[in-house]
């Protein structure tokens, strides 16, 4: 059978060269075809007497091998799916173990093998290197080496958790695996992961020379006298301490489900006490267990399949627009405006950053400079290019300068009148072709469009703060927004490398509307007399990026109040909403506005850091006499399910157009249920019947805001779910 992913040659001296070359892929990845070819290549190396040894390298510039093919995760499961919907564990284990078995075959093939690493070797790529007898890397700083599986919620499954510690010892291997650290060739050399760094042009000749020296063809760990470098928990107290402390370091970050670091820890702990063959079996089982968890696949689907798919769709829509975006006008030089200005300048767009308040405009300039200086001092940015970026930004208090801009982004304070006012003003300055986008997080776009002479050129682009870190752009089409306007907006989003979801116009859109329920539910609990520490800690430990009261303090109570007012839909004035408003009003009247005045739900120290929860909360919001504090589970359920219900309602109301958009918006927008891949994936993970039962309980105890959405009932009734089972994509 001809190999399609490997160019296999043998030179006159009997040195086989295994050139990995997976077709139609920008980088080499491990596909089922590759496994077939790799097996074939190993058996040739082992069985052809004329072959004296093998060099494993890559035909692809820059990529030795990047590891697993995430788009294949779905196939992995469908291959092991039984007709009754259960997973055939034995079959899945065979699939999961295949690569590991091949790597073991490679290191025991009886001939010396060397990895000539001419491009980045990541995940499975590095695992191939670890199972060859010698590792030689080209002296190219662009090459990265590492086992980053943990970052996609997985773990190395082909010996990475076993060979790396056997090579460099547990103390060095553990953090690399837990953090998924990527290393340069010299860093890897210093750690002992690779054996040599050589000039790129000499890599193959040096590799061949190594083979011709007739070196060993046995791994150190297959030697009977092998001693684990640095010892294990059985013979070295400091390794015991490594695990005692390491377990806690991993556990304390476990807010939300993060089973991968845990599985890596266990694989290291148990595997290090076993001979390599048994250790590889332990690793395979943990890998398989991890891969079987529905949250692993759903997280991968959202972050690594849906996210690029959304970016691709944006590019497709944008491709209908030929005119480039050369100049952009940003109104409002606050945190959001300044962040956008930098992002656009970095993308090569000329920026005019306007703030009517000349003082704020002046501050923006020094803030931008300070931000860039900080990045330069950290080594993340180059001083020369940052200077160019800064010179591409004109900061002014004169609206006139935005004339000729291709796109305007309005990013002034979240106030309807103020926004209408600046939009009206700028609309008279810019040309007919200019798209005007509002960065409002709550105010209906069709309402704001009324301030604009050409509502078809008006659109909502809700960026998230801090712009440089947050990928999401919630894109809101107003009633009259034209397709061309949307396409231009998508072009900007693509240039900025952001991920858009397109949502329908309505108060609070998708993200702010759902997010507001998080704040509202926590305020309701405060009103009831639930311990604020309980609410804050449970929220944090449930995977919310920030505890609700700390968040309101950071937003400041006046802004939180305005968000609440704007997201309130017509006619909505529930008892619950009013109770939450009352808490906000009370805090406002007490002057406890939040972090900016150093007192809110928390007291703050002079340097702005949190001192402790304000002691007065207990006396301000007194529970009724027979009130008992709820369990942590109840608090968690209220905070999480309240948002989940709102997300599903948004899908029912066609505010969002697919569960995938809903997941992306939640995960990238407000970090909601990130560990599960978003709210819709979460519902699938726990099962819709179980979710319905939980919601019914909550509704009985806490009111009809927890009523099971129709869509959940329908799906559960027809035994289906939001995403099809067994598939990651």
């Amino acid at each position: 059978m001809p190999m399609t992913t490997i160019d296999f040659t043998v030179d006159p001296d009997g040195v086989a060269v295994v050139n990995i070359n997976v077709p139609d892929r920008p980088v080499n990845v491990t596909t089922p075809n590759f496994f077939d070819d790799f097996e074939h290549a190993i058996s040739r190396i082992a069985n052809y007497p004329s072959i004296v040894g093998a060099i494993i390298t890559s035909s692809k510039a820059g990529s030795f091998m990047a590891g697993g093919d995430l788009t294949n995760m779905g196939a992995l499961f469908s291959s092991a799916l039984l007709p009754n919907g259960q997973i055939d564990i034995d079959r899945l284990l065979v699939t999961c173990t295949r690569f590991s078995d091949l790597c073991r075959k490679l290191e025991t093939c009886g001939k010396p093998t060397i990895s000539a690493i001419n491009g980045s070797a990541l995940g499975g790529g590095l695992e191939i290197c670890l199972s060859s007898h010698y590792r030689m890397v080209a002296d190219d700083p662009k090459i990265k080496l590492g086992l980053p599986e943990v970052q996609v919620g997985l773990m190395p499954g082909a010996g990475g958790t076993q060979r790396l510690p056997r090579l460099i010892g547990l103390p060095k291997a553990l953090p690399l695996l837990i953090d998924g650290t990527l290393l340069s060739p010299f860093e890897a050399l210093n750690l002992g992961i690779i054996d040599a760094v050589v000039p790129a042009q000499n890599l193959l000749s040096k590799a061949k020379a190594w083979i011709m020296r007739s070196p060993v063809s046995q791994q150190p760990w297959d030697d009977r006298k092998f001693r684990f470098p640095g010892g294990t928990t059985q013979n070295n107290p400091s390794i015991m301490q490594l695990f005692v402390a390491g377990n806690a370091r991993v556990k304390r970050k476990e807010t939300g489900p993060t089973p991968a670091p845990r599985a890596i820890m266990s694989s290291l702990y148990e595997g290090s006490l076993l001979p390599i063959v048994d250790a590889l079996t332990v690793e395979s089982q943990y890998f398989c267990k991890l891969a079987m968890m529905s949250q692993t696949t759903s997280k991968i689907r959202t972050l690594f399949l849906e996210k690029p798919a959304a970016q691709k769709r944006a590019r497709l829509i944008a491709s209908t627009v030929e005119k480039p975006i050369r100049k952009i006008g940003i109104l409002g030089a606050g945190m959001m405006g300044s962040g956008l200005a930098i992002a656009c300048a970095m993308a090569g767009i000329e920026v005019v950053l306007v703030d009517r308040n000349s003082e704020i405009a002046a501050q923006a300039k020094s803030k931008l400079t300070a931000y860039l200086d900080k990045q330069i001092s950290r080594g993340t940015l180059n001083p020369l290019t940052t200077k160019q970026w800064l010179s591409a930004i004109l900061i002014t208090d004169e609206y006139g300068h935005v004339g000729g801009a291709d796109v305007i982004i309005e990013a002034v304070f979240e106030d309807r009148d103020l926004k209408s006012d600046v939009i009206k003003k700028v609309a008279t300055i810019v040309g007919h072709g200019t798209v005007i986008a509002s960065n409002t997080s709550t105010i209906p776009i069709s309402d704001l469009a009324r301030s604009c002479e050409r509502p078809e050129r008006f659109i909502g682009l809700h960026f998230f703060s801090p712009v440089e870190k947050m990928d999401m752009v919630e894109t809101i089409r107003g009633r009259e927004t034209s397709d061309e306007t949307t396409a231009i907006a998508m072009k900007l989003v693509s240039i900025l490398k952001k991920t858009p979801i397109i949502v329908s116009d309505s108060p609070g859109f998708y993200t702010s509307r759902c997010f507001e329920t998080y704040l509202q539910e926590s305020l309701l609990m405060i009103a009831e007399g639930v311990s604020p520490a309980l609410v804050e800690n449970v929220a944090r430990f449930s995977g919310m990026p920030m505890a609700p009261l700390a968040l309101i303090d950071t937003l400041s109570i006046d802004l939180a109040q305005s968000i609440a007012a704007q997201t309130k839909r017509a006619g909505e004035d529930s008892v619950d909403a009013r109770a939450a408003d009352d808490v906000r009003d009370r805090m406002l009247s007490l002057g406890r506005l939040g972090r900016k005045v150093k007192k809110g739900f928390y007291d703050y120290l002079d340097d702005g850091s949190i001192d402790s929860i304000w002691g007065g909360l207990a006396s301000e919001f007194i529970a009724c006499d027979d009130f008992t504090q709820p369990s942590a589970d109840i608090v968690r359920d209220r905070l999480i399910y309240r948002q989940v219900v709102e997300c599903v309602q948004c899908l029912e109301e066609d505010i969002i157009h697919s569960p995938a958009d809903g997941d992306l918006g939640a995960v990238l927008g407000w970090g909601f249920l990130r560990g599960f891949g978003g709210p819709f994936s979460y519902l699938d993970c726990i099962g819709l019947p179980a979710a319905s039962a939980k919601l019914q309980q909550l509704e009985r105890a806490y009111g009809n805001r927890f009523q099971v959405p129709r869509l959940i009932c329908d799906l559960a009734g027809s035994n289906s779910q939001f995403f099809s089972a067994g598939h990651a994509a």
């Binding site: 015991m240 695990f243 005692v244 377990n247 304390r252 820890m265 800690n537 942590a632």
Partner: protein, 403 residues
């Protein structure tokens, strides 16, 4: 059921559990053997009559491993027909050893036993046996493992024991221990430890601070703030389990926690046949004993639960108990015990405890039995309850009654 009686108790003085401590050069084997030899010779018993020697030891590895009880009894020149049993339940090992030795008599399996314990913390350090609970990720994750000091601070935070209250209690422990020594209240049980030449190396508890007071103790830095708040950050794990606690206030330190020491103890237990044979008068009777499991992250509330369980089973109330010996693992454990069961402080640890005199893990339970018995005899009391908190969330208790 047969009655099990206590005929005698001995204990070593406790030496500082570090190099430089007076017992550091004494092997745990030798330390245990000296106690066994003492109890044999004080009562002139024929060790061939003994059925079992049960010794507690919390860290049974290295020189404390391989059933130290059997080796120690052989080293004490006991008859080779006596079997040895090692017991480990962390801090309660010594009390469990006594309870097992008593239970063997009560069940009729044995007529004559010794229960006791030994721990040489200066030689076999605390935690040096590792163990799956804290090192195996699967266990550490599932149980929210935190070191005991974090649990003690969590307990103090959750139940509002301020640093001042803990320090005041610690000062009292020293004051009571000083008074007890000055009045010779321990003399009945103390067996000085000797070197190879028979010279006494220690005859008093070495960690008691005669001059200390709450103000002085108040100057000590908290011991667990760094591992709790910084790296590896155990506080977060404790809060995950107890989210109602806003944050942990670190208030325990070397001065209000039990001292790390070396020590050993032995209790002679038998039925009434022994009394007749040796013309010995039973000093006390075992009324009952119990053990429980409690939430492992908070870890230290076991004494409350096990005391309730045992008293209920025996049909007793705290009022029926004259003396409570509650191991002073940490000051908060004792304060929480007293408040939870509404027991007046005067009845608890009247002669001080492990904060002043030290907690040789495997021996402490047996030491407390002897201390309680001596105090019952001195005061004319009837019943005493001995209890200890235990790692991983457990509790053990025993009630004895003077006869």
């Amino acid at each position: 059921m047969t009655d099990a009686f206590i005929y005698d108790s001995v204990r070593s003085p406790r030496g500082k559990g570090r190099p430089g401590g007076s017992l550091h050069a004494v092997t745990p084997l030798n330390l245990a053997a000296q106690m066994l030899r003492a109890i044999q010779s004080r009562n002139a018993i024929d060790t061939a009559d003994l059925d079992e020697v049960v010794l507690g030891c919390s860290t049974p590895i290295g020189e404390q491993g391989a059933v130290l009880a059997r080796t120690a009894l052989l080293m004490a020149d006991y008859c080779e027909t006596v079997s040895g049993l090692h017991v480990s339940r962390f801090c309660a090992s010594g009390l469990d050893a006594v309870n097992i030795a008593a239970a063997k008599v009560m069940s009729g399996e044995a007529d004559f036993t010794i229960g006791g314990g030994v721990e040489s913390m200066s030689r076999v350090p605390l935690g040096s046996d590792g163990g799956a609970w804290m090192t195996d990720p699967s266990a550490a994750f599932q149980t929210y493992f935190v070191p005991q000091g974090i649990s003690a601070d969590l307990l103090a935070t959750k139940y509002h024991y301020a640093r001042e209250a803990l320090d005041a209690f610690a000062a009292t422990s020293h004051a009571k221990a000083v008074a007890a020594w000055d009045e010779g209240r321990f003399k009945n049980s103390i067996v000085p430890v000797c070197d190879q030449l028979g010279r006494v190396v220690l005859e008093v508890d070495e960690t008691i601070r005669r001059e200390t007071n709450a103000a002085q103790i108040g100057k000590l830095e908290p011991s667990f703030a760094s591992i709790g708040e910084a790296d590896p950050g155990f506080d977060t794990l404790a809060l995950m389990k107890y989210p109602e606690v806003e944050r942990i206030i670190h208030s325990h330190h070397a001065g209000n926690s039990s001292a790390i020491v070396d020590g050993a103890a032995a209790i002679m237990i038998g039925n009434d046949i022994i009394a007749k044979k040796y013309q010995l008068r039973p000093r006390a009777r075992f009324v009952g004993c119990a053990s429980i499991g409690s939430e492992p992250t908070m870890m230290l509330t076991g004494p409350v639960t096990v005391t309730s369980k045992l008293l209920n089973r025996l049909g007793l109330t705290p009022d029926d108990i004259d003396i409570f010996e509650v191991n002073e693992a940490f000051a908060s454990v004792v304060l929480h015990f007293a408040d939870s069961l509404h027991i007046p402080m005067e009845k608890i640890n009247p002669n001080g405890g492990a904060i002043a005199m030290g907690h040789p893990l495997g021996a402490t339970g047996a030491i407390l039995v002897g201390t309680a018995l001596d105090e019952l005899e001195r005061t004319g009391g009837s019943k005493a309850l001995i209890t200890l908190c235990v790692g991983a969330g457990m509790g053990v208790a025993t009630v004895i009654e003077r006869v």
